[in-house]
């Protein structure tokens, strides 16, 4: 079974993000970039499936600027077999990403696509669902356990009330939650091997996909600073403040 994983290049989770002076977005110049942590989990799951003999090949796909190659290399160092970069400097919103992935998937014909449930930069949590809908495939989102059973897939999902297990027909789209696995550190020999693995480059034009943004960002601001707390002298005062100042009771 061939697997496809999508990996996004995002600002590293350790970086304290700052809003650009013109409020058009966050500062990404000279900031450490890494693979989206949920996508690392997706790659790890794919590699484990390959190690277990369930998967035969893993293709890692990234979309965006030329430097996304580095993100693909990270996936290759973890154990993916080859990469595809859909290169563009344009802003890519979830719908455009889903359409581009669909075009790649039609070429590659994988049986299972694994993505992170969301990216830590925009927190959209949309791409996997849109992709499944566009492909007309089954979807198992927020996966904390994935098991292949013949032509079917058992996916345990993290839902508000607890865990829900669904049975999907392959081909399918799965999005990963935090507890699915703990991604490995790439080993030194595998980092070296990753250099020799192929990465193909495509463009949105070549795939015939219009990536024009549908949403307009009006303004990006820092969250308001937390105000200092107040000490109250008595329960009476607390009730009074809750009622008249905070107006919550």
């Amino acid at each position: 079974m061939k697997l496809l994983v999508a990996v996004k290049r995002v600002v590293d989770f350790n970086v304290k993000v700052r809003v650009k002076a013109d409020k058009s977005g966050v500062e990404t110049a000279n900031v450490k970039m890494s693979m989206n942590p949920f996508d690392e989990i997706a790659v790890e799951e794919a590699v484990r499936m390959k190690e277990a003999g369930v998967a035969s090949e893993i293709v890692a796909v990234s979309l965006g600027v030329a430097q996304c190659q580095e993100t693909i290399r990270t996936a290759l160092a973890m154990g993916a077999d080859r990469g595809i970069l859909v290169q563009t400097d344009a802003e890519l919103q979830p719908l455009a990403v889903a359409k581009l992935l669909k075009a790649v998937i039609e070429k590659e014909q994988p049986k299972l696509v694994i993505l992170g449930k969301q990216a830590i930069d925009d927190d959209c949590n949309q791409t996997g669902q849109m992709l499944a809908a566009l492909l007309g495939w089954a979807q198992g989102t927020f996966a904390s356990k994935v098991k292949v059973e013949g032509e079917q897939l058992l996916v345990t999902r993290e839902v508000d009330g607890g865990l829900e297990t669904v049975r999907l027909k392959l081909p399918a789209v799965v999005t990963t939650d935090l507890r699915l696995n703990e991604p490995r550190y790439a080993s030194l020999p595998n980092i070296m091997k990753a250099k020799k693995k192929p990465i193909d480059t495509l463009t949105p034009e070549a795939l015939g996909v219009d990536v024009t943004p549908r949403l307009v960002t009006l303004k990006v601001e820092e969250p308001p600073k937390r105000q200092a707390g107040k000490k109250v002298g008595s329960v009476q005062e607390l009730l009074d403040k809750l009622r008249n100042e905070a107006r919550v009771i």
């Binding site: 110049a29 160092a77 550190y185 790439a186 030194l188 980092i191 070296m192």
Partner: protein, 595 residues
């Protein structure tokens, strides 16, 4: 509140901007080591260090190693961390592919080592000593010895040690008493006691390979009568695994100031079976070829600790609110200003930053030349590089470890009383850093090596490998007005260094105490001048890039730090010259009984 993030941007600067690490990929055997691969490897190693080694640093310090009946256990978590490190292939980084290594340059190993020492120096001792043993055997071992030991040392399933020190001798190894008696079958029986043996016994690997200095029955006196032996804890089995237990046991472990998670062992050899490595009585020379690499490694330990101290102090100084800026509140909305507004705190932070970054630049230069000295096709170029590395080795060892200890101490000072408290992790760095100034030849011995061996060697040829590029740089930059503020102080310090060198050469010839009394000050002067050279070269690059572009802030910080170095640290070379010129008399005059 210790924090550590791998200084990847700094690595890129010294490796690809200040020096040309790309040139390594042109050397035979290093074609894989392209700059992008080096960067990818540093990034992944950084992740492992930050996430696996760093969290065990303080717990390892608190718990220490355990000794019971000859068995040593490392602190909780060390076994798992070592497994991750080993399985990730990190023990084999600079080993030969013939023995299962990755065949990557020393330059890369240097900076991976820096990150390991920044995050957990005690941990780093175990693979560090194994690599020393690997090098000794790969240079001096027989084919059979290499086949038996190198693959296991490379993949980290076995570890190594260096057994030199005995209770009555550390620096003066000519006094070694451990005996090696031929057993008749080509093997030897080793008997004696070694002390302070790092990683002598532990629970991280299946076997431990001791490299032991000992005397043959017919050995001449002193260092000319010392031979090197390989003595494994378990004799190698016929299948490449382990066989019978050998007669070497750990008698106890030391309770010590720092690196508590590194087991420092008394090792008792009782007719243990060993094999000779290299020629009889040539053990010191064999040990020395490897000790040079080990000395560079200890220098890198100092640099690593300094970086962690700096990162912790910088974070603390930005957050700790205490007092107001002298010119009036810098953050009126806060109850007080962060201490980074105070000139004295800035002085301390900048001292750390300026010495660390210059040291890292020197490390990059030394490391690249070390690779060139081993791999370059042109023998003349190899010799040139080897000369420079030999010259810089005592400076890297002594100066970097002095920088490491000073930085850790400044880190405590910046944190005030909180730096002295265990919880915050800064005092551990002081304790851990202290050993680096002692082992692998005390820093005093390094200074003697520089003055007594390296300066006169080949009629000053080694020295010229440093003096020529510096004077060349000063001449080249003379026409550039914008460089004057960096080149003039460099030229002044360089002139003084030449004066000091001439003084030592002349006075030392007549009276060796003159050279001995000047040595430590001379080494410091040399290190400061070499650092000034690194800062001037840095400034040249930074001037061109500090005006515009995404990274302008990075280069402006380089310029400001270079200016601080030239104005506030380099002038010490003047007083050092005065001290050196005062000669040995003030040091030697007092009778020993009068102390």
């Amino acid at each position: 509140m210790t924090t550590y993030k791998a200084p990847l941007r700094e690595y890129r600067f010294v490796l690809s901007e200040l020096f040309d690490v790309g040139s390594l990929a042109q050397l035979p055997g290093y074609t894989e080591a392209t700059p992008d691969t080096i960067e990818a490897i540093l990034e992944e190693a950084g992740k492992l260090c930050e996430e696996v080694l760093f969290p065990l640093n303080r717990s390892g310090d608190e718990e220490g190693c355990h000794y019971e009946n000859g068995v040593v256990r490392t602190p909780a978590g060390f076994k798992e961390a070592y497994r991750a490190f080993r399985e990730g292939g990190w023990t084999s980084l600079a080993c030969d592919p013939e023995w299962g290594g990755q065949g990557l340059p020393h330059t890369l190993a240097f900076f991976v080592e820096e990150m390991v020492c920044s995050t957990n120096m005690s941990f780093g001792m175990y693979p560090g000593l194994s690599h020393g043993a690997y090098r000794a055997l790969s240079m001096h071992g027989t084919e059979a010895q290499k086949k038996t030991y190198l693959p296991k040392l490379a993949d980290g399933t076995w570890s190594g040690t260096m057994c030199l020190t005995e209770p009555h001798c550390g620096t003066d190894l000519g006094q070694i008493r451990t005996k090696a008696i031929p057993a008749g079958d080509g093997k030897y029986r080793i008997t004696g006691t070694k002390i302070f043996i790092s990683a002598g016994e532990h629970d991280l690997t299946d076997n431990i390979v001791h490299l032991v200095l000992a005397r043959l029955p017919d050995a001449p006196e002193g260092t000319r009568g010392i031979s090197l032996f390989v003595v494994p804890k378990f004799l190698p089995g016929p299948d490449g695994g382990i066989g019978a237990r050998n007669g070497v046991r750990c008698g106890s472990i030391e309770h010590k100031m720092g690196i508590k998670a590194s087991a420092t062992c008394v090792m008792n050899f009782d007719e243990a079976e060993g094999e000779l490595v290299g020629a009889p009585h040539k053990g010191m020379r064999a040990m020395f070829t490897m000790m040079n690499a080990a000395r560079l490694g200890v220098g890198v330990q100092g640099l690593g600790l300094a970086e962690t101290a700096y990162q912790g102090a910088r974070a603390y100084a930005a957050e700790r609110l205490q007092g107001r800026a002298l010119k009036g509140p810098a953050y009126p909305e806060k109850p007080a200003d962060p201490i980074i507004v105070h000139p004295d705190v800035r002085r301390m932070l900048l001292t750390m930053k300026a010495t660390i970054e210059a040291a890292r630049a020197l490390a990059a230069w030394t490391a690249i030349e070390l690779d060139v000295s081993e791999k370059h096709p042109d023998p003349e170029r190899r010799q040139e590089a080897e000369d420079l590395v030999a010259l810089l080795t005592p400076i890297v060892k002594a100066w970097f470890t002095d920088v490491g200890f000073a930085a850790a101490n400044l880190g405590v000072q910046i944190m005030g009383g909180h730096g002295y408290i265990r919880e915050h992790g800064m005092e551990q760095l002081v304790r851990d850093a202290r050993i680096t100034q002692l082992y692998e030849g005390t820093n005093g011995i390094q200074a003697l090596d520089l003055v007594g061996r390296k300066l006169p060697m080949h009629m000053g040829r080694l020295l010229r490998r440093f003096f020529h590029p510096v004077s060349g740089f000063i001449e080249e930059q003379a026409a550039d007005q914008t460089m004057a503020e960096f080149v003039l102080p460099l030229a002044k310090a360089f002139g003084k260094l030449q004066q000091a060198t001439a003084h030592i050469a002349q006075a030392g010839l007549k009276d060796p105490d003159e050279a001995g009394a000047a040595a430590a000050d001379y080494l410091k002067m040399f290190a400061l001048t070499a650092s000034a050279y690194m800062w001037a070269k840095t400034a040249k690059i930074a001037l061109a890039k500090s005006e515009a572009g995404e990274d302008a802030g990075f280069y402006r910080a380089k310029l400001a730090t270079a200016r601080f170095f030239m104005a506030r640290l380099l002038p010490e070379t003047s007083s050092l010259l005065t001290v050196i010129a005062s000669g040995a008399k003030p040091v030697m005059a007092l009778e020993a009984e009068a102390f």
